[in-house]
């Protein structure tokens, strides 16, 4: 197995988790969760999105949310936006670590539903995004390729679509005078499988060899962990994930926010550690965050270590017994 020595998890549970909930949650609870996550060693926490408060009521107070967080040095507190207006709102909000991204759709049908425009129009709009980023003096950090593995509205998606998206983004960045640093392939609606991970990651890497390719995976159909493993075996060292398995695409299981969301950060950190892969994350502290998330959300969440714990306590008991 040709796996990386160190893997980075970008925590998206707060943004992904609360965005799909119908109930509104107190700001203080969400702040507490972000602050606890920042103590675990996670370096990248996606806090909230700047999107229409009508579409996503839980994101109406994103600016206040960012302002309320006591920041830990070395941790990036990032935001998501789906259009230029959202970008400017994020930029004007104190406390947002601006990590600019491009967003392209591998499925046009999904672009229509999620973004209100075709995939081609979304690609065109990326020129405006680039202009806005240049004006604001920020460089693109990431390209997100949405629905890269399949789409409930368009069916199976050809890896060529992800390659095309990667090339568009590469061209835009080249015109701006820099290379594209990261490409996140998103399995937005849970269509990926390990063989597809290998195909799409391989195709995108071949097309844009200078970019770091990461994965944004959902556990919709129970293959999240296997898909992470397939990524690791391709040398992928960057994953988006959610504490306690929070989140989920509202298009995947409409109306059922209790269905599986993103791959679960602590379960995947555990997998890495068990295989000798470093993450710089304190797993036990992260499991505590998962319990906190569950207490805040107020129902059973999908992470496994939430129920079983890690193996640390058994190993410690064994070590103590051997000493005695």
């Amino acid at each position: 197995m040709d796996m990386p020595n160190r893997v980075e998890f970008r925590e998206e549970g707060v943004r992904e988790g609360f965005q799909i909930e119908k109930r509104l949650y107190p700001l203080a609870d969400r702040v507490r969760l972000v602050e606890a996550l920042a103590e675990t060693g996670l370096r990248h926490i996606q806090v909230a999105s700047f999107v229409s408060p009508k579409a996503v009521p839980n994101m109406a107070d994103s600016a206040e949310f960012f302002a309320a967080i006591r920041k830990k040095p070395g941790v990036a507190y990032t935001a998501l936006w789906l259009n230029e207006k959202g970008f400017w709102r994020a930029l004007e909000s104190p406390g947002v670590d601006m990590q600019a991204r491009l967003a392209l759709y591998a499925s046009s049908e999904f672009a229509l539903r999620n973004n209100g425009c075709s995939a081609a129009e979304m690609a065109r709009r990326q020129r405006d995004w680039m202009a806005a980023y240049a004006k604001a003096g920020v460089q693109v950090e990431t390209l997100s390729v949405l629905a890269a593995f399949g789409c409930n509205f368009e069916g199976d998606v050809d890896p060529a679509r992800s390659v095309e998206a990667a090339r568009i983004a590469e061209d835009l960045c080249r015109e701006a005078g820099y290379g594209i640093p990261k490409i996140m392939l998103a399995d937005t609606m849970g269509w990926a499988n390990p063989a597809a991970i290998k195909r799409v990651v391989g195709a995108v890497r071949e097309a844009v060899p200078t970019a770091r390719v990461g994965l944004h995976l959902h556990d919709t159909r129970g293959l999240g962990g296997a898909n992470v493993l397939a990524g690791l075996m391709m040398g992928v060292d960057l994953f988006d994930s959610s504490v306690a398995g929070l989140g989920g695409c509202p298009f995947s299981n409409p109306g059922d926010t209790t269905a599986a969301g993103n791959v679960c950060t602590e379960d995947m950190v555990f997998m890495c550690h068990e295989m000798g892969i470093e993450t710089d994350v304190d797993l036990e502290a992260l499991i505590e965050c998962a319990h906190l998330a569950e207490a805040i959300i107020g129902r059973r969440l999908n992470g496994h270590l939430l129920r079983s714990g890690s193996l640390a306590r058994f190993r410690e008991a064994k070590a103590m017994a051997l000493q005695a």
Copy 2:
């Protein structure tokens, strides 16, 4: 990826699932679930165990259970036992397809708790089992190596223990005049990870190259799917699994029967099919069985396709749209 073309899933959800429940369930419901499972293409259904009814009240009526099932030709309806007495009870029960197994423990502490004897004593008892099997005219089909990857009571378990168990079983079968056909490595308490799967499967295969090595995996810590994938990539083509993710070792999450159980049959069948691996199982019919299991158990079960469904309906809609 060097994966098999065809994989066999042995369904253990009925035995694994009901054995850990505190409530008793009507015989008719359990019979209905077994009969539905037999219609999906699964060829091997573990129905019940012949163990102490005091220890496992839900297995008190195992003989009646087997007798009540309308059998489908080509499907094996098998039983589990942990001692000779259980074997004779199974043999005397009409309708049990006798698939004799040896059972060895990779962890002695777990042997004590699960079987009331040390691993060494359990190994010694296998001679008596062999004598009983010979007397009954049945050949050993399978060796189960319990706690092959780790143990809550003994900590990490050396692959050498599984190799030792495999060699003991091979010797016993050789003395009886035949080879050992299958070795099931069981991750009874959820300690396995993909790298460990590779290590232990590799070590056992090297020691006993003539045996077919299979995996009995639990999803206790969320690595079930990744561990199945690791097995597939080692060419493993035999897995125990449970419909709807039923089951779980009572020692893993004591008192919490809602925690993750065995790897979920329909989710893993889905993974295989998506990667072009045949299982001979009708996935949609199996998902219906998972819904039936959930209705019978009477609470939310852990399988993912139960919530999201497979991808078939999206692909069919797409195909119809293309025709229109």
